[in-house]
Each structure stands twice: as C-alpha cells, then as structure tokens.
C-alpha cells in the first residue's frame, strides 16, 4: 500500500470522513472538521502506524494531508 493510501486510511478511520474528502490540499481543521484534540490524535495515529515520534513543533506545521505525506516521505521510512 502506498504511503498516501496509508495516510488517507488513518485519516478516514480517525475522523470518520469520506475518502473523496481526503485530498492532498485538504486542511485538517477547516476541510475535515478536526478539532485540536482530533489533530493530536491524528499525529498519534501517524506515529503508531509509521513507528516514529513527531515533536510538537513539527506537528503544528502538519496542517494539510499533503504536508503529512511530504513529511513522512522526507523521513525515508523503511516500511
């Protein structure tokens, strides 16, 4: 499964949104209706799924689906 699909799957699971809503440009707060705790839990979900730790400063910049994908790609994950 591609990184994009895994990220999308986590977002659908945590936020209960429709697959077509999860575009790369989608903002977590305004487009996907995630409040601040939802966003924290999303970060937690990415950390668990990809086996890494995202610090608070980095997490605050990950405001769109695309930014998360770019961030994870840059981490050059093995899995």
């Amino acid at each position: 499964m591609s990184l994009e699909s895994r990220v999308t799957e986590i977002i659908i699971d945590k936020l209960g949104v429709k697959p077509e809503q999860v575009t790369m440009e989608a903002q977590f707060d305004t487009d996907l209706g995630a409040d601040s705790i939802d966003q924290y839990e999303l970060i937690m979900g990415f950390e668990d799924a990809f086996g890494l730790r995202i610090d608070e400063e980095e997490a605050s910049t990950l405001t769109t689906v695309g930014k998360v994908v770019e961030y994870l790609k840059a981490k050059d994950l093995d899995n």
Partner: protein
C-alpha cells in the same frame, strides 16, 4: 484483568488510605512518592497489588520516565489520583519565595506533569478517570496558607479545563475537596486549632482519610461514568 491506577503521595496520609482502598477494591496501584522509606513500609503493608515508585513529581523527565515505566510493567493506566501535596505555611509578609515556589511545584505543577504524562495512553485507550485532591481551603481560604490555598484552587481550574478538553474522549476529570481530615499534616497543628476547626464543622468532628478514599473509589469506578468536571467536598458539611 484488574485496572491500573496511579496514586501520587501514596506513602502516607490520604494517599496511603486511597491506595489501600483501591487495592482492596481489586485495583493494581502504582504508588508514587518521594519518601522512599515510607513507600517501602506502605508496600509491605498493602501487598503485591501495590507497586511502589519513588519519584519526584516536580521533575519533568522523571515523571515521563515513571509514566512509561508504569505502563510497561503494569499495563495501560485507567486511573490517576493527584494527591501529593506539601505545606509551607506562613503569613504573606513572612513567606519566602521558596515557600511559594516549592508548594506550587509539588501541588500544582506536579499534577499537571502527571496528567500530561498519562494523557497519551488514556487517549489511546479512550477511557480514563483522573481525580485531583484539592482542599476546602481552595474555597474558604486559610490564614497562613496563601501558597497552599492557591494551588488547591488551581487544581479546581485544572480539573474543569481538562474535563472540557477530554469530554469527548471518555476521560473524566474530577476533584475532591477534603475538609479537616486526621492525617500527619493536620496532626502537626496545635490542639487548640484542631478543636476550633472541628467545632466549625456541622458534623462536629474531623474526617478520616478513608472518607476521602471512598469518594476517590467512587470517581474512579464506572458507577460515576457520567460525572466529570465536578468538585466533591468531603468535609462534614463545612462548606455548606
């Protein structure tokens, strides 16, 4: 499987009593305290479901380490009881800044650090119950205790704010405001002061640590599953 609860200030007084009550009700208790010897004694008395952890809850890194240590050894934590507290009484004009700082560090910052350290696993579990041990002095004030009263009032703010943050996550946050309870802390007071206190209580007597422990047991248990953000006075009617 038995649920896990963390109790701070577990070695003596109200914290010891809370730990005892929880162990007897089938909880696994991680008892945290800075008083290593007293903690060992408590562990000897409370049996194998009481797991002692020596920790300074004002030390951010130590709290993080302790939290992951507890979760690794005992499993996910459901209950957190922020009970640890100290006093450094004195009239304001004589109160040293260290007296203010140290009481804030233990009573209020310690509770914040503990809540934060376990927030991740509680969010992951989608359940949890936090009980903060405040005091009637948060509501009434007391001469010579501006530091202590401030922290106990601060815990009420923490309780209500965190109850809102966690409301949708099935993690409840409540406070208990004990009145005059017979503990090591109140035994240090002059006899005359103690009598004066007791006379002002509608029930005309001081409470026992077990009275507070019973209220904690209630708030940690699922019987209180729709109660969050409240302050329960356990004070013989003092604040009524």
């Amino acid at each position: 499987m038995n649920r896990v609860a963390v109790v701070t200030g577990a070695a003596r007084g109200i914290g010891y009593s809370i730990s005892k009550k929880l162990v007897r009700s089938g909880w696994k208790v991680a008892g945290c305290d800075i008083l290593e010897d007293d903690l060992k004694t408590a562990a000897g008395e409370l049996g194998e479901d009481f797991h002692p952890w020596t920790v300074n809850i004002t030390d951010e890194e130590a709290v993080k380490r302790t939290a992951s240590d507890i979760e690794e050894k005992l499993g996910p934590v459901f209950g957190l009881v922020n009970n640890a507290g100290i006093t450094r009484d004195g009239l304001i004009m004589r109160m040293q800044k260290e007296d203010w700082d140290s009481v804030l560090a233990v009573n209020l910052t310690g509770a914040f650090l503990m809540c934060r350290a376990f927030s991740r696993s509680m969010l992951r579990q989608k359940e949890g119950s936090i009980v903060n041990i405040s005091s009637v002095v948060a509501l009434l004030g007391a001469v010579g205790q501006i530091n202590y009263a401030s922290t106990k009032a601060g815990l009420l703010g923490l309780t209500r704010a965190l109850a809102r943050e966690y409301g949708t996550r099935n993690i409840r946050v409540n406070a208990i405001a004990p009145g005059f309870i017979e503990t090591e802390m109140t035994r240090e007071l002059p006899e005359k002061v103690r009598e004066d206190y007791a006379s002002r209580v509608p029930m005309k007597r001081m409470g026992q640590p077990g009275n507070v422990a019973d209220a904690v047991g209630f708030l940690l248990d699922d019987v209180s599953s729709y109660i969050t953000g409240v302050v329960i006075p356990v004070d013989g009617g003092l604040t009524t």
